[in-house]
Subunit: 295 residues, 2 copies
């Protein structure tokens, strides 16, 4: 005698409220009329209110039933929507991917990913945050980020990495520097200059790589300044406070009195990788990764 309301009740109720006829409603529901009768009666008992008036030969709604009908229509409709949404999210057709990236990834990889997402999965939303390598790794481990774009060769256990973009390095020189594309041969030519590099803790891999480039040429660079922003580095070069070595694509999007000399011959590459938590179950992330494989 202490029953609970169930969706079944609502569906049955709505059928009767629409047909105002038990037998016809029962037929529509593919159940027997007595079953329907008892369920409606039970429902009235649960709610503590008469919902239908069964008068001589005709069924009609009470005001409470009238009210409930509207509500049930809303609830069942809302439910149907919810079911669809849940399914879509489960399939990764819908949802959110939280992306972190190094500033240098914004030149190329991240915009392409966003464009691809917009085209193939327009219902997948993204949040973007520019973060250092370390900050991205921490955020991913703490489940505050789904996907990161970093320059690291090794990542903590539980995370997966995969290179997505390889870039040559370019020398960054003041606009009026004697060296140019034509007379540049070897990085030894600038061995005595001051160097401006990205900070180690912003991207140790980059730092190590640049040092190894110099090492391969037989000198140790004199690092006078370190920074975390390309903008700052270029500004320092422009003001003749030193020269820099940066990933080639970084040059796009800045308007500075500096010149870039791409060093195609040196073997080191600036590798941008994506990182994610191995057990991340965000289905929208899967769609993202599929897309990145193709870029």
């Amino acid at each position: 005698m202490n029953y609970q309301l169930e969706l079944r009740h609502f569906i049955y109720f709505l059928a009767v409220a629409e047909e105002l006829h038990y037998r016809k409603a029962a037929e529509k529901l593919f159940i027997s009329q007595p079953g329907l009768s008892t369920q409606i009666k039970q429902m009235e008992e649960i709610l503590g209110t008469q919902l239908f008036v069964r008068d001589k030969k005709k069924v009609s709604l009470t005001p409470a039933g009238e009210y409930l009908k509207k509500e049930v229509e809303f609830i069942l409709n809302h439910l149907e929507q919810t079911k669809k949404q849940v399914k879509l999210i489960g399939e990764g057709q819908l949802g959110e991917v939280r992306i972190g990236f190094l500033g240098s990834a914004m030149q190329n990889v991240v915009p392409n990913l966003l464009l691809g997402l917009k085209e193939k999965f327009p219902t997948v939303h993204t949040t973007l945050e520019e973060l250092s390598n370390r900050a991205q790794i921490n955020a991913i481990l703490a489940d505050r980020l789904d996907l990161g774009f970093v320059r690291l060769s090794r990542v903590p256990k539980g995370l997966d990495v995969r290179p997505v973009f390889e870039d040559t390095f370019s020398l960054v020189l003041p606009g009026d520097h004697p060296l140019d594309e034509a007379n540049f041969k070897n990085i030894n030519q600038v061995a005595d200059e001051d160097f401006i590099l990205f900070s180690q803790d912003y991207s140790p891999m980059y730092y190590d790589t640049v040092l190894s480039i110099c090492e391969d040429s037989g000198f140790v660079p004199n690092v006078s300044h370190k920074s975390v922003h390309a903008q700052t580095i270029f500004k320092l070069v422009e003001n003749k406070l030193g020269i820099a070595i940066v990933p080639t694509t970084l040059q796009h999007g800045f308007q500075m009195k500096v010149k870039f000399i791409e060093m195609k011959k040196i073997k080191q590459r600036a590798v941008l990788s994506m990182v994610w938590k191995t057990d991340n179950r965000n289905p929208a992330l899967q769609k993202c990764m599929d897309l990145l494989m193709k870029l």
Copy 2:
């Protein structure tokens, strides 16, 4: 294996989503852990989506589950509200009463009813419509009105009537008419004047009653004008186009150069009755009627 989603599923789901722990959730729900496990699994099957990730020693929500949790919270909350509302409407504590009335009922009975409702059942709303006797009867029969205030002695089958207010009749005379409260004795004194009365089809009972008043005095009135609005009748009297006989309380609320002489001695009374459909199940109407019994 073709199950239906039920509210039970939602309640179970929410418990697990909150506890993120099957055994604890099951305890909270007073069911066994295996039962809970199978129900959640079934739910995931119905929705076609994983809702929880059961990893080494810890349960967590998938994005789809995260979304569903919010929706379920909303739905269950909305449902609880609805249940309460339905109960209240069933008890007549809430709802709407559609009232029709003759203009003359607005002087006294209807305002008192509204005041009483506001005090005792502030959640019962009303809609008001000034309508003729006939229009009210039709509207009540067609279920467009719950309650009417009419001047009729007989009503069609299926409707109930009950007098709610008895009023004496008053003579309405131009302001400068020789007759007044002091020298008035008998309606015979105005037997030769022109009479202005409410139209028969607006209220046949009133019409008959006025005629019977005259008849009792031994004359047949000369009816020069008929109208449906007190305002019009008073205006005509003011302009000396005739005199009128109206229910006494009608005089309130008008500012006219007319004088009223209450005829307490004549036996006829202007009876205002309430009418309603015998089988009207609007519980808010019951509250209305209870109130009117006490007025």
